[in-house]
């Protein structure tokens, strides 16, 4: 088995004279891994993916799929790939099933009717699969998009904003079948600008901005760490009193925000019980304590210019 399912080296796309929409991007997706590509709108995620699947030509760099170079063995590489690029489009005047049959015919392996039904089952489109695609909702099209991507059992799945248009149940389903596919050894590259999703779905995440990969980390590294500073909000009976108590205490804890009956504090995890005690002692009722589990978001905002602007 090759080292990586997908390897991208120094990928660059220049448009016009000097507009670099993807700038020297490199990352590797391991076998059986779900790798996230996270970035704000216009970061260059779709452009990166378009180069990987050969929709647009790369200005520089290499794409290697299961050890095969895209430039040298394009068709072999494409046999290994299943993809959704931005919103999938279909032949509106045909049924979902007829659309899938089109893609089945283009596969290099024989795709049986059972396989088609199996995939339709997996994406839960059984009831609508024989209706014309023009009657589908956005979410149904997205599911059909997933279906056409996994139909031929690709070993590398590339999904650009796959949750776009899906309802919470749909997102959950997507996550679930991604997990199932991963267990079968399929590797995935998933792009999104939604941090919370990436956190739940991916093993590793690359953060992209202005065409550059600025960070690659394991999700576990990004998740809450005990001594790290977090945002915690307390919903209390009296905001005024709470502020006063905090000001008089020696904890040195900073109030980030105080409105709508809740104070948001920047503090470490360990101090939560202490502050709670402090409030209770001073006759302040505490109705809720919420830790904003936004470490990935924090990281993201810290790393990207969007965050920098917000801080200023």
């Amino acid at each position: 088995m090759t080292e990586y399912a997908l390897e991208v080296k120094g990928l660059t796309k220049t448009i016009g004279k000097n507009k670099r929409i993807v700038n020297d991007a490199s990352f590797q997706v391991q076998h059986g891994e779900i790798f996230g590509l996270l970035g704000p709108n216009g970061a260059g995620k779709t452009s990166t993916i378009r180069m990987i699947v050969g929709l647009i030509r790369k200005t520089e760099g290499k794409v290697i799929i299961n050890g095969k170079d895209l430039d040298e063995a394009g068709q072999l590489c494409k046999t290994d790939i299943g993809a959704i690029i931005e919103n999938p489009s279909f032949y509106d005047h045909m049924s979902g099933y007829k659309n899938l049959q089109q893609y089945a015919r283009m596969a290099r392996t024989n795709i049986t009717d059972e396989r088609l039904r199996e995939v339709v089952d997996l994406v839960k489109l059984n009831n609508a699969i024989h209706d014309k695609v023009k009657t589908y909702s956005l979410g149904m099209k997205q599911r059909l998009g997933v279906a056409q991507a996994i139909l031929h059992k690709p070993s590398v799945l590339i999904l650009d904003e796959p949750t776009n248009g899906l309802d919470p149940q749909g997102i959950r389903d997507l996550r679930d079948y991604l997990k199932i596919l991963t267990e079968q050894g399929i590797s995935s590259l998933v792009s999104s600008h939604l941090l919370s999703e990436m956190q739940l779905m991916c093993d590793r995440v690359a953060i992209m901005e202005h065409g550059k990969i600025i960070d690659i980390s394991h999700i576990s590294e990004l998740n809450i760490q005990r001594d790290e500073v977090n945002l915690v909000s307390f919903t209390v009976s009296s905001l005024e009193k709470a502020k006063e108590v905090l000001a008089n205490s020696t904890s040195g804890i900073e109030i980030v925000e105080a409105e709508n009956e809740s104070v948001t504090l920047s503090m470490s995890y360990e101090n939560i019980p202490k502050i709670n005690q402090l409030f209770v002692k001073n006759d302040i009722d505490v109705f809720a304590i919420e830790s904003a589990k936004t470490s990935l978001e924090d990281r993201f905002l810290q790393l990207t210019a969007v965050g920098k602007k917000a801080e200023e």
Binding site: L55, A83, F90, H93, Q102, M106, R108
Partner: protein, 319 residues
């Protein structure tokens, strides 16, 4: 590759449009035939009378030739009629007789312009519509070369236009059998052009060379609109240019007359877009014969398809 072709064929016929086009060809053929039947069939003459009538006409025209107040134009016309009638008499062909093949020869190309129009519309949309809806991206990420998609689409359009031609031919033939007497394919026939040029040949020869040349001609229009719509991603533009070219051919007679002396005109595509002229003419401009026209068209076709293929092979698909 065969599966790509199958896909294209299915995609085409699951739309309503091609069925409507086939239906329209049938309807137009019917209408055209009815018109022809009601006007022309009245002038039919009995088998005994026709020779007499032709001879009478020749006599009348001779008188015109001899009379002194007849104009130059009238005399030319009289000469033409005499020449024609003599040819009919010598060939033993009754020009006022009706049979299914004469009907076919007269009407077959009557609605053929619609075939070109419909083929041009399909050719212009088969690539550009997939670019506009974005379905193209789900095609080119499959394990095929891009040119293979283009080739299968092109073949599909060509097959579609052949379906239209066959529809026309079959409808026309059946109507002929119903409405007229059945004649042998070997029946002698005379074909005249506007200027009076004449050829005498068999029905089969005449009808099949007409439809063959027409088909070749139509394929050139298909190539033009297919290539342009691929290059410019615009169906409207491609249909527009296709229709413009179609009109240009109706004016080509005039252009041929005006520009025949220039050295470059015979290398322009326009005079070669009326190939059916070759049914009655050996040359359409001096020195321009059928092989020459075909060679010129082949060069244009190769350039257009080549450009479209190279462009499509390389272009960034970002929509």
């Amino acid at each position: 590759m065969l599966s790509l072709l199958k896909n294209e064929w299915i995609k085409l016929w699951t739309k309503k449009q091609p069925w409507i086009f086939v239906g329209l060809i049938i309807v137009f053929t019917l209408l055209f035939t009815l018109m022809y039947y009601s006007f022309e069939a009245n002038t039919a003459l009995d088998s005994d009378e026709w020779q007499m009538q032709l001879e009478q006409e020749i006599e009348q025209e001779r008188e015109i030739l001899q009379s002194e107040d007849a104009s130059e134009w009238e005399k030319d016309f009289a000469e033409m009629i005499i020449e024609e009638n003599t040819a009919y008499l010598e060939g033993g062909i009754n020009p006022r007789q009706f049979n299914n093949l004469i009907y076919m020869n007269d009407t077959l190309l009557g609605v053929a312009s619609f075939i070109t129009l419909f083929s041009v519309i399909v050719a212009s949309s088969i690539v550009s519509s997939e670019m506009n809806t974005g379905t193209i991206k789900q095609l080119v990420i499959r394990p095929y070369e891009r040119w293979q998609f283009l080739v299968s689409k092109f073949i599909t359009v060509v097959l579609f236009s052949i379906v239209l031609i066959v529809t026309l031919f079959v409808t026309n033939y059946i109507l002929g059998l119903i409405l007229f007497d059945t004649a042998s394919w070997n029946t002698a026939m005379i074909e005249r052009s506007f200027e009076g040029a004449m050829v005498e040949t068999t029905a089969a020869n005449l009808i099949f060379s007409k439809i063959g040349l027409y088909t070749l001609n139509m394929l050139v229009f298909v190539v033009i609109s297919f290539s342009l719509s691929t290059l410019f991603r615009s169906q409207a533009l491609a249909v527009g240019v296709g229709i413009f070219a179609l009109f240009a051919t109706t004016m080509s007679q005039a252009l041929n007359f005006l520009l025949a002396d220039t050295a470059w005109y015979k290398f322009v595509i326009i005079p070669h877009l009326s190939l059916t002229e070759y049914v009655v003419h050996d040359t359409i401009i001096e020195g321009v014969t059928l092989p020459f026209s075909l060679a010129v068209l082949a060069v244009y076709v190769i350039i257009l398809l080549g450009l479209a293929t190279v462009y499509f092979q390389k272009k960034d698909i970002a929509y």
